[in-house]
Assembly symmetry: C2
Homo-oligomer: 88 residues x 2
């Protein structure tokens, strides 16, 4: 992975809320946006924005699943990130 891509991922993780979201998603395996909104003191639009950033970095993927939107961790990428971090 090149440094630009890696930097993008780090940037995505460079916010406490987004780290917490990633932890939560890993724990829950998959969940909908509403569940995440409930556990944070931020508005739905703010959480949605954080999720968008995480999606753009590739760490999180989301699929529309009926009326709900299902988010989950991209575990392969997460593993790859861990490898790349070891290389720094």
């Amino acid at each position: 992975m090149d440094d630009t891509q890696l930097a993008k991922i780090f940037k995505a993780l460079g916010h406490p809320t987004r780290i917490k979201i990633v932890r939560y998603l890993r724990e829950m395996d998959r969940c909908i946006c509403g569940q995440i909104v409930e556990i944070f003191p931020y508005s739905q639009s703010t959480i949605s924005q954080h999720l968008k950033l995480l999606k753009e970095s590739g760490i999180v993927s989301g699929e529309v699943d009926g009326p709900k939107n299902c988010y989950c961790i991209n575990k392969e990428l997460l593993e790859r990130i861990k490898e790349d971090v070891s290389g720094i």
Copy 2:
């Protein structure tokens, strides 16, 4: 390490130039700001600013050494970061 601290570190690494600086410092063991300025297409003030961010995050430490300022990687923290990334 709490998520706020971890986020700060990720944020510091969330720029390609700063990742490259970290790699370079790890390779060189220690070096002065001027050396780093030479290898990047940015001004001295810009590089200095990047170094400041890296210092604030703790990844890099710098000591004044005569007329020059010597930067080096905080290897213990870097190792700790790698552990913490594994925990995400």
